[in-house]
Amino acid sequence: MPEDRKTPQLDELEKGPWPSFVTEMKRAAAKNPAADDLLGLLERSYEDKIGHWKHGGIVGVRGYGGGVIGRYTDLPEEFPHLKEFHTMRVNHPSGWFYTTDALRTICDIWEKHGSGLTNFHGSTGDIIMLGTTTDELQPTFDEFSEAGFDLGGSGSDLRSPSCCVGPARCEYACFDTLDMCYDLTHEFQDELHRPMWPYKFKIKMSGCANDCVAAIARADCSVIGTWRDTIIIDQDEVKAYAESGLNIQRAVCDKCPTRALEFNAETKELTVIPEDCSRCMHCINMMPKAIQPGKEKGATILLGGKSTIVKSAFMSWVIVPFMKMEPPYTEFKDLIRRIWDWWDENGKTRERLGELIYRVGMGTFLREVGLPPVPQMVFRPRANPYVFWQEDEIKK
């Protein structure tokens, strides 16, 4: 660090009990001049109350259209090591599981070729390698590839799919989220690495309706585990919960959104009205030892989730209420390819799938990708009569 580098504002963020990113930046700065310049640049932003990064230019590695985000500061004279400070996205393993050997390998490569600063992880799920020069991109990639790691997505392509911890550690998982994430990511390497669509596309897999990867809020295609039959209740464990002091009536039955549960306070038995249950997960969350998802497991497919820009935030909506989710996931892959083709054909630049469906209507979408309309797709039917009738539905 240059002797005269002063960061009084950032120093304030080394105080307090939560671990400090400024401390981390200083650790990296002690070894790397770009990380040190980054401290200086951030301090400047804190003074100016404005960002000091220009729009990305096109940089990358051979054979890839995405995976690297070009970044250049608008103050290159003052911060020469940030003249080029590109981000590399490295595709994370399913469920973000690692051995320390794998993590140390990543650290060694990044210390050699980049700033030594990372995000574990970026919002989409990738390992973010924060800051290197154009010349270092290819050697960095080569070493990652040699070590068994590949780039994630960026730009108008499939972004790195991500999933919850799934059957690796969760009794709620209704399908193998980790396997499906791994399988799809490998199946769609071309879509992931070579941007060719109107805009980005995200797929996220959650093993149950608790949705721990926020698939419904963030993914254009959200795959959320569910079951078709009925929850399984272990009455002995129900009694044990009752005896341990859980107020089953109040905390479980009264909170059931469809009033599908009945608790007999005398016999301490819990019963479900199967056709009334909407599989929301509340009772299972409250009594994981006593209640399990049913046996006929699979997933609900929802489409359209995205953040605010441009036409407001959308949450994904149901397009297939139940699909078996087993390798090699052929039914899902066929469907998603049909959807991509349709989006690619009809979408405008920077129009996410959900916005396109909203623009042309669900009826058109369902007809053109060949999906049957079912009542599970809507909270309630339309309140107006302005139906777009098809030609073959009208007498000539």
């Binding site: 504002q9 953040s307 630049t349």
Partner: protein, 352 residues
């Protein structure tokens, strides 16, 4: 030449033996104490998870530090959560206490499980983004310092999920969070005709505006902005650097509350805007930390056990929320964008 398209490594080689042996055969789990989960398999095998907060933006030496801990107590196995927490994984109950001590010694907070505040998911902010209205890491650090105790306690009414995005591109997808801290611009783009003449595709630039505020300006071979139609989303700035949206004087923070992604009890819901603007006041954004604390503490005082922020507000009514929190309601809280009408109260029943 290095191999391309090899895809991510096979997660199976990173799973600890206890997980490999009991994969898909977990029976139940218990919340042992804040930050510690115990999963029990059908075989009777036990897996302990110790959840630890991280600042997300970390040096490789930080990763090596946590690797040292994992080597010493977890046979070299660990994972990360979707909220930037680290999870140490061990089948040895005797390792739990020493591991927690080792984390404490490194200044790593243990918590974030069950009915607690988990880590804040966030974006890059001034660290590395080209469209930010604010920093992200700095606000997150300030808010987590301020709410630190709630990370290590699991007796809140329900879980508490806070998210921060430095602009409404919202890479961090804050829009379904109990509390969303969002960077906002408040002024129309300042046009640099030279940059647009050189590099912009004018039809795309015109088409990208969601409110139709941008029109071609053939005289300048550029575009013009109808300022009263602009709602400062910055979509045009992403299309062209000639549409400068950053404004040091006027950019700042909005606060939205009451969203969730889980389907439990009620449908997933969006966060709703309750504070339209707070100033960027680095390094500690006191107005933001105070506003967030006020909302959290009001929820703690008034919510019933089991109620997420949004469930509590929907029960008492948004009008009561504004009263209880003393947050001033203004026309800026009333939607006037595409899906506004469904938020108007088409009912004569309400509270004061």
């Amino acid at each position: 030449m290095a191999k391309i398209d090899i895809g991510p490594p096979d997660y199976r080689k990173f799973l600890p033996p206890v997980i490999k042996e009991n994969y898909g055969k977990w029976k139940y789990h218990e919340l042992v104490r804040p930050g510690v989960l115990k999963h029990v398999a059908q075989s009777g095998a036990e897996l302990y998870t110790i959840r630890v907060g991280s600042p997300r933006l970390v040096s490789v030496d930080f990763i090596r530090d946590i690797c040292d801990i994992a080597d010493q107590y977890c046979k070299g196995y660990l994972r990360f959560t979707s909220r930037n927490n680290i999870e140490f994984l061990t089948d040895d109950a005797a390792m739990v206490e020493p591991l927690i001590e080792a984390c404490r010694a490194k200044g790593l907070p243990v918590g974030g499980t069950g009915r607690s505040l988990s880590n804040i998911v966030h974006t890059q902010g001034w660290i590395h983004c080209h469209t930010p209205a604010s920093d992200a890491s700095g606000i997150v650090k300030a808010v987590m310092d301020d709410l630190y105790e709630y990370f290590g306690r699991d007796d809140l009414p329900a879980k508490l999920r806070i998210a921060m995005a430095c602009c409404l591109n919202m890479c961090g997808a804050v829009h379904c969070s109990d509390i969303a801290i969002l960077g906002v611009h408040r002024t129309p783009p300042v046009i640099n005709h030279e940059i647009i003449q050189k590099g912009a595709e004018i039809p795309s630039l015109v088409a990208c505006c969601p409110t139709g505020a941008i029109r071609p300006d053939p005289k300048n071979k550029s575009v013009a902005v109808k300022e009263e139609k602009c709602m400062y989303c910055g979509n045009c700035f992403t299309m062209s650097p000639g549409m400068q949206i950053l404004d040091a004087q006027n950019d700042g923070i909005a606060i939205l509350v009451g969203g969730k992604v889980s389907n439990a009890r009620s449908a997933p819901s969006f966060s709703r805007l309750v504070i339209p603007f707070l100033p960027n006041n680095p390094p500690r954004w006191p107005e933001v930390t105070e506003a967030v604390r006020n909302i959290v503490e009001t929820w703690l005082t008034h919510a019933r056990t089991g109620e997420r922020m949004g469930e509590w507000i929907e029960r008492i009514g948004w009008e009561r929320f504004f009263t209880l929190t003393n947050i001033p309601f203004s026309d800026k809280c009333i939607d006037d964008y595409i899906f506004s009408r469904e938020t108007f109260r088409t009912s004569a029943a309400f509270k004061y």
